[in-house]
């Protein structure tokens, strides 16, 4: 059975889901280390969560049964939501592989393999991927669920409670995975053929963005005990609540039947849509395998006149960056999903901050996440082996200009867009002072860009990338510290600029001077050093100096 063509194909497709073609061998190795580091951080946070849960359930031990059940239900909603989120994110990340593509068909149709086997193997690989992911997450979250079993839960023994939670969780994961497949399937079916790739890429970026935006809401679910007690209206609109309702219903809580109905209907509907799109695409496979004829339209950006020869290289790099961002799903995904995390934090802030404080604080989470996100996207290469053309045309005279093109991109996407997004709300609240706020935010953002890009010496998307060069837990702590310091200091400077502009002006001058210093240093460094096309792990050894007197 191992050697059946369908089994061989399924294994091949499964392996391809972990193929990060944009990384070099060294980069892929380092990425594995990064993932292990990230898993270590997640374990650390999980242990922290266990401590929080232990304290919570210790306090609830003597509480009335109703209160305990409501709290446990809210926590179960949180755990189920977390599971659903991770499964949906994983399936969305491999969205490009949900259906066989042109390459699959060009290679496989030449072999004695049927279309049914190709589609079946693809589906099997996806199911195994989603199932492994779901099982891993289920196992990781089980200790937290176990804590909620210790108290007086009303009806049902421990085994039946575990069975109800597991069944509800399994159906919830299935719904999450099928929803992504169904969305993708519908999109492939209804999108105009000539724009299928672009629309698919855009939809995937948007979906990842929405997932990240949902995170702060998921984080609030453990505090939703009251909503469960009083049957809040929003439960009917929150998918994790449907499946938590299913768990309660399986334990004999008849009052949750409306939620059960929604859970089962939604799961069945997504299953039908996913299956139907698979079947339709199976019959009309030309839709996914044959390349559409592009509409004749002039490409944007490349037709613009160039002012001078000196700026020619910078214009070339800027146009290259614009086009790559416009067409590369990977790079869009990096920026959109990370910036959505910032958006999620701002949405979360709506609940906990007063409107004035929120408007003074909101630009900074977006900037501190947006700037590194864009920098990261520029560091990830596109077609790494095609960079020879930049190496051959490398010219020291224009190093500062081409490096500057990357810096300008980071400012435009990581600072200007967040500032522009918040500005209309600030204008409504602060009136004319919003102009001042925009100026100060831009100044702070520019300083951050210059600081983070101070050692940047490559052309965007052309340098091989080795991720995870640092120690991940240390990077996490540093990132968290930078976030807190930057957002607090930025908000404080804005508040001072509104209340006492004359005093704040001194700080503006200091920031501007420091920024200009960094800019000059970067330009000098770029002109003096060669551009980087290869990324390496740090080889510097930090001596312990044990023998120093």
């Amino acid at each position: 059975m191992r050697d059946w063509p369908a089994a061989v194909l399924a294994r091949h497709f499964f392996g391809a889901l972990f193929d990060f073609g944009f990384l070099s061998d060294a980069g892929a190795e380092s990425f594995k280390r990064l993932l292990l580091g990230a898993a270590a951080v997640a374990c650390g946070l999980g242990l922290l969560l266990v401590r929080v849960f232990v304290a919570k359930y210790a306090n609830l031990a003597s509480a009335p049964v109703d209160r305990y059940v409501a709290a446990a239900t809210a926590d179960h909603a949180f755990l189920i939501a977390l599971q659903m989120w991770m499964v949906a994110a994983a399936v969305a990340l491999v969205g490009h592989s949900l259906f066989p593509d042109e390459r699959d068909f060009r290679i496989l149709m030449a072999e004695p393999v049927g279309r049914a086997e190709i589609f079946g193997a693809k589906l099997a690989a996806l199911l195994v991927f989603a199932a492994l992911f779901a099982a891993g997450i289920y196992a990781a979250l089980l200790p937290l669920f176990g804590l909620s079993l210790l108290g007086p839960q009303g009806s049902g023994g421990v085994l039946s409670r575990v069975a109800a939670y597991s069944a509800a969780g399994l159906i919830a994961d299935l719904f999450a995975a099928l929803a992504v497949v169904a969305l993708h399937g519908v999109l492939v079916l209804i999108a105009p053929r000539e724009r299928l790739v672009a629309i698919g890429a855009g939809a995937r970026s948007l979906f990842l963005c929405l997932l990240v935006l949902a995170l702060p809401m998921i984080a609030r679910l453990p505090a939703s005990a009251n909503a469960w007690t009083h049957g809040a209206w929003w439960l009917a609109w929150a998918p994790p609540a449907w499946f938590t309702g299913l768990e309660r219903w399986l334990l004999g809580d008849g009052g949750r039947f409306a939620l059960v109905l929604r859970a089962l209907t939604a799961t069945a509907a997504t299953a039908v849509i996913a299956a139907a799109s698979y079947v339709i695409l199976y019959r009309r496979f030309d839709r996914v395998i044959l390349r559409p004829q592009a509409r004749p339209q002039a490409p944007a950006g490349y037709g613009r006149r160039i002012a001078s020869k000196r700026h020619s290289a910078r214009q070339a790099v800027l146009a290259f960056v614009r086009t790559t961002f416009g067409r590369s799903v990977l790079h869009q995904g990096i920026v959109l999903s990370l910036m959505a995390a910032g958006g999620g934090l701002v949405v979360n802030g709506i609940v906990s901050r007063d409107p004035r404080g929120l408007l003074l604080w909101a630009p900074f989470p977006l900037i501190i996440i947006g700037v590194p996100a864009v920098r990261l996207a520029l560091s990830v290469p596109i077609e790494p082996r095609a960079n020879w053309i930049f190496r051959m045309t490398d010219d020291r005279d224009v190093h500062a200009d081409v490096v500057g093109a990357g810096v300008r991109t980071v400012f435009a996407l990581g600072v200007a867009i967040p500032v522009a997004l918040v500005a209309p709300f600030q204008a409504v609240w602060f009136g004319w002072q919003a102009l001042l706020l925009v100026g100060v935010e831009s100044l702070v953002g520019w300083f951050l860009v210059e600081w983070l890009m101070r050692d940047w010496r490559s052309i965007p998307f052309t340098c091989a990338y080795v991720p995870g060069k640092g120690f991940v837990p240390q990077m996490f702590v540093r990132g968290l510290g930078a976030f807190i310091v930057f957002t607090s200091a930025g908000a404080a400077l804005l508040a001072l600029s509104v209340v006492r502009p004359s005093a704040a002006a001194i700080l503006w001058c200091v920031l501007a001077t420091a920024g200009i210093g960094l800019l000059r240093r970067r330009r000098r460094l770029a002109a003096d050093t060669t551009l980087a096309f290869e990324d390496d792990l740090p080889t510097e050894v930090n001596p312990l100096r044990l023998n120093v007197d």
């Binding site: 390349r291 004829q293 592009a294 509409r295 004749p296 339209q297 002039a298 490409p299 490349y302 037709g303 006149r305 160039i306 020869k309 020619s312 290289a313 214009q315 070339a316 146009a319 290259f320 086009t323 790559t324 067409r327 590369s328 596109i382 077609e383 082996r385 095609a386 020879w388 053309i389 930049f390 190496r391 051959m392 045309t393 490398d394 010219d395 020291r396 005279d397």
Partner: protein, 254 residues
């Protein structure tokens, strides 16, 4: 004139190219031949400045690569062995990118890109990204990009790979024209027929060393003195008939 003197490349303990010398004069097309792994592509990469030699020098009309690599590379057009391109760009976008990096003035570049696209029969696909291009189409884009700035030295690594017969004939005629106009053409290939039809001289490399260098007219059309026989003798290739028999026996037994 391009002069390579004592060109050497060492990767750790592996000597890829060992003290290679050759000259390439204006108007000459030199064929650079050698078995797989003989160091041809390494030499090409050093000639175009993508790889730094461990030892030796490259001089183009008196300008040493090590002294001014930018000025040296500005005079070179290069067609790599594999069609490594930014396939998310259209052919026009890619040529414009290359032209701008080569600092060609905008009006000249615009006109030249449009004309080259038409002449290389890429005009109909000008708004398509190169993801959908065949290998031959990508090869034509690379050739157009290599000639865009009217280089003095054209370095070609298997340039006919993927080109159809018509495109191959066009390219051959173009290379001859460029050589007649005084351009230097350095041409690495496995295609003896193309070398015989195009080149004025051949340099044969084996295990990183030059083992044969002579004008094309010195070879007979056929027999022991032909280019192919001379190549096999110079590179000490094995007799392939027994190997072919062994492969045939293996698949027959399968």
């Amino acid at each position: 004139m391009l002069q390579a003197r004592g060109l050497t490349k060492r990767y750790g303990g592996l000597l890829a190219v060992d003290r290679v010398d050759f000259d390439l004069r204006p108007g000459e097309i030199v064929g650079y031949l050698g078995p797989n792994g003989s160091g041809k592509s390494t030499t090409v990469n050093m000639v175009v400045g993508l790889l730094e030699p461990t030892a030796g020098s490259l001089t183009l009309d008196g300008l040493r690569l090590s002294d001014d690599p930018i000025a040296y590379k500005r005079r070179i057009g290069y067609v790599p062995e594999e069609p490594h391109l930014y396939t998310h760009l259209t052919a026009a976008e890619y040529l414009t990118l290359v032209g701008r990096l080569r600092r060609i003035a905008a009006p000249v570049l615009e006109a030249r890109v449009a004309t080259l696209l038409r002449l290389f029969q890429l005009h109909d696909s000008r708004y398509q990204t190169m993801t959908a291009f065949s290998k031959g189409m990508r090869q034509r884009v690379l050739v157009a990009a290599a000639l865009l700035h009217n280089p003095d030295l054209i370095v070609l690594d298997e340039p006919f790979s993927g080109l159809d017969v018509n495109a191959g004939l066009l390219f051959r005629a173009l290379l001859r024209l460029l050589a007649d106009e005084g351009r230097m053409i350095f041409f690495s290939t496995h295609r003896f027929d193309m070398v015989e039809k195009l080149c004025s001289r051949v340099v044969v490399l084996s295990a990183g060393r030059v083992v044969l260098e002579q004008p094309i007219v010195a070879f007979d059309r056929a027999g022991a003195g032909s280019l192919e026989e001379s190549f096999v003798r110079a590179t000490r290739q094995a007799d392939y008939a027994p190997l072919a028999r062994e492969i045939f026996d293996t698949i027959r037994g399968a």
